[in-house]
Symmetry: C2
Subunit: 353 residues, 2 copies
DNA sequence: CAGCGTTATGACAGCGCTGTCATAAAGAAG
DNA sequence: CTTCTTTATGACAGCGCTGTCATAACGCTG
C-alpha cells in the first residue's frame, strides 16, 4: 500500500525485474546485486503486495484451510499454526468453514478453487479422511496436505501429516493397565473418523499384549461429543459387571463420562479411572483434571502448512529439493499426560492374577 | 480464475466498464442494460476476482479481524459470524491473532494497514476496549467497528456494536435474588475489560434495588480464567460468612467456581448457587450445567462486520443512506438461561426478612 | 427539429507484480 | 582478441479489474 517494487528498484539501482528475482529467490542474480536489493528491501521495509502477486504470476500466494469441527479449541490451534507458517513465508490464509455432511462441500471446494487462485489446501478431519472429498480435491488438481490418522495415510504419504492415534492409545491403555485395571471400557468416536479406528486399535493391542480378552460389551460406539460420553459411560457403568476404567476417545467424551460418573455418585479416580485424548484446554477444567494424550495441534498444523508451502515455492530454491522439507515433521505421536482422573484400580473383586 | 469480466462483457454485448458498473451497483446504467449484464453474470457464474479488485480500485475488499482471546469458543463464533457477513458481500477476511499485552500491537496494526489495503477492522475485546489500540487505529485512518460493552461505546457509538453487560448481569442477579439469595459473591473479570465493570454494575444495581448492601469482601478481583474462578470461589467459601450464591463473570470462571466447590465438598445447587456468563458450549459440559446469560457471539460478529461493510460500499447504493444499515442490530443484551447450577438459597441462618 | 442539458456507455491507462524474450556482460575456447 | 557460450539484467506486456475522461444517446424545450 505504500512502498512498491519500483521504490526498491530505484533505491537499489536495478530494474524491477531484478528485484522480483531476488525476492522470489530466482537464480541468475549476482551476489553483489542480490545484496544491494536485499539492503534496499530492508531499508524500505518493503513487502510485496499480495494482490499484485496473485494477479500477475501463475503462482498463488494464498492457501485455504477447510474445517468442520465442532471443537473450537482444535480449530483455533490448527488455524494459529497454519497462520504462523503462512506469515513466515508471506502467504495469505483463506478460512473456509464448511459442513462435512452436506452435499454442497464438493461444489464449495470447486468454487473456492476456481474463483480464487489457490496454492493449496490444508485439510483436517473429517474432510481429510473423507474419500469423496479427497477425490474432489484431486479432480480439481489443486495441491493439498491432509492431517490424518496414520492408518489413513497409506496411499498418499507425500500429502499427509500423520498422527499416530494407535500408538498414543496404546500408551494410554498401558497406563491404565499398569494401575491394575483389567476391565477397561472403551468409548468410540464417530465411525467416519479414521482416528476412531486408530485409537480403538491401540487400545486393543495393549489389552491383547497384557493377555486380556476384551469383552464385546466393553467397547461402545459413539461420537466425539460430550453427550456421547455421558451416554456411553452411563451404559458401561450400569451394566452388571462395570469396568474400573474408561477410555474415552477424546477429552470432550471424557468430560461427559466424568459427568455421568458424577450423576451416579461414583468417585473419580477412587472407584473409576477415566482417560481422554487430545489434551484440549478443558481437560484441565474438569474435576478432576483429565489424564489424556497431548496432541500438539498447533505444531501439527504448522508442519502441514509448511509442507504445503515448501512445495509451491519449489522451482528455484537454492539448496535443492532435499533441504526443502528439512525440519518438517511428518508424524506425531500424542504423549501421555497423567493428571488426576486416573488411579489404581479399586481392590474388590480380584478374580485373576 | 476462469471467467473474467471480459467474458461477461462479451456475452452481454457491452463494454467491461459497464459490467463493472453493474456489479458495483453504480448509477447511470439503464435497467435494460443492467439486466443483460446480470443475466450474463449468472449464466457464466461470474465472480469478480478479488486480487484484481484490490489491486485496481481505491476501494478494498478485505477486512481484518484482530483478536486476542484465550477463549477459543468466543473467537470461533466471532470469526464464523464475520465470515458469513464477508461471504454475503464478496469480501475477504484477514485473520490476525495478536497479543494485547505486547507492545508490538501497534506496529503490527500499522504493518497490516500499510501493507495490505484494508477496508476496515473488526476489533473485539480486549483490543476494542484498549484506548491505545483505538488511538492507533484512528491515527492510521482505517475504518473500524468495535464490539464492546455498552459502557464503552459512549463517544464512539457509530463504530460500536454494543453488548449490554450491565443489563444482563442485572437479570442474572435478580434470578438469584428471586431464589432467596441475599449474600451473593461476585467474581470480577480482568480490570482491563470494560465488560468486567458492566457486569459488576448490573450486579450492584440489582442488589441495591433489592435493598441489599453489598459487603466489600463479597466482590473479588480476578480475571476471566478458570483458575481465577477456582481461587476466587475458594476465598469466598472459606470466609467466615460465606455467600449462598456466586456470580462468576464468565462461564470459565463459573466452571472454576464449580471446581472449587467440588473440592470443598459443597453441593451445587443445594448448598451453593453459581451462575456464569456467555453461554459458551462448556457451560453445558459442567456438572451441574451452568445457569448463565446467553451472548450471541456469532450474530454480534455478523452485525459488526455487516456494519463495517455497509459503510465501505457507500457511495452508490440505490436507496440512500437510510436503508444502508437496515437490519443491523447495534445493541445486544445477553439473555438469562436457567440451568442446573442455581437454585433456592439454603435455609439455615435467616437473620433478615 | 435545432439546441441544450442530461444520462448512458466506452476507450484507455494503470494498480504492483511476474513471465517472456531480447540484450548486455562475463567466461570459455580457439 | 575474436567467437561462442553462459549468465545476468532489463524492456515490455499483461493479469482482471477500477477510475478518469471523452463521446454517444437520450430527452426536453421553443
Amino acid at each position: 500500500m505504500k512502498v512498491t517494487i519500483n521504490d526498491v528498484a530505484a533505491r537499489a539501482g536495478v530494474s524491477i525485474k531484478t528485484v522480483s528475482r531476488v525476492i522470489n529467490n530466482e537464480p541468475s542474480v549476482r551476489p553483489a546485486t542480490r545484496k544491494k536489493v536485499m539492503d534496499a528491501v530492508s531499508e524500505l521495509n518493503y513487502q510485496p503486495n499480495l494482490a499484485a502477486r496473485n494477479l500477475a504470476g501463475t503462482r498463488s500466494y494464498t492457501i485455504a484451510f477447510i474445517y468442520d469441527n465442532p471443537n473450537a479449541y482444535y480449530v483455533i490451534d490448527m488455524q494459529n499454526g497454519i497462520l504462523e507458517a503462512c506469515k513466515a513465508r508471506g502467504y495469505e490464509l483463506l478460512i473456509h468453514p464448511s459442513n462435512a455432511g452436506s452435499p454442497t462441500v464438493h461444489r464449495e471446494l470447486q468454487d473456492l478453487v476456481e474463483h480464487s487462485k489457490i496454492a493449496g489446501l490444508v485439510l483436517t478431519p473429517p474432510f481429510s479422511e473423507t474419500q469423496s472429498v479427497i477425490d474432489t480435491v484431486k479432480r480439481l488438481e489443486v495441491d493439498y496436505v491432509r492431517i490424518v490418522s496414520s492408518e489413513a495415510a497409506l496411499e498418499d504419504e507425500g500429502n499427509c501429516i500423520q498422527v499416530d492415534d494407535s500408538a498414543a492409545a496404546y500408551d494410554l491403555t498401558r497406563h491404565l493397565l499398569q494401575h491394575g485395571h483389567r476391565r477397561i471400557g472403551f468409548l468410540c468416536g464417530g465411525e467416519e473418523h479414521v482416528s476412531t479406528h486408530g485409537r480403538l486399535d491401540g487400545y486393543r493391542r495393549a489389552m491383547q499384549n497384557a493377555g486380556i480378552i476384551v469383552e464385546r460389551e466393553l467397547v461402545l460406539k459413539g461420537e466425539y461429543s460430550f453427550d456421547s460420553g455421558v451416554n456411553g459411560a452411563k451404559k458401561l457403568l450400569q451394566s452388571d459387571n462395570p469396568p474400573t476404567a474408561i477410555f474415552a476417545s477424546n477429552d470432550e467424551m471424557a468430560a461427559g463420562a466424568l459427568f455421568a460418573a458424577r450423576l451416579m455418585n461414583i468417585a473419580i479416580p477412587e472407584q473409576l479411572s477415566i482417560v481422554g485424548f487430545e489434551d484440549s484446554p478443558f481437560s484441565r477444567q474438569t474435576w478432576p483434571k483429565l489424564t489424556t494424550a497431548h496432541q500438539p495441534n498447533n505444531e501439527i498444523a504448522k508442519c502441514a502448512a509448511a509442507l504445503l508451502l515448501s512445495r509451491t515455492r519449489g522451482k528455484a530454491t537454492e539448496s535443492g529439493s532435499a533441504s526443502k522439507e528439512a525440519g518438517i515433521k511428518r508424524e506425531f505421536t500424542p504423549e501421555l499426560v497423567v493428571r488426576d482422573s486416573s488411579g489404581p484400580a479399586p481392590v474388590e473383586i480380584m478374580n485373576d492374577e
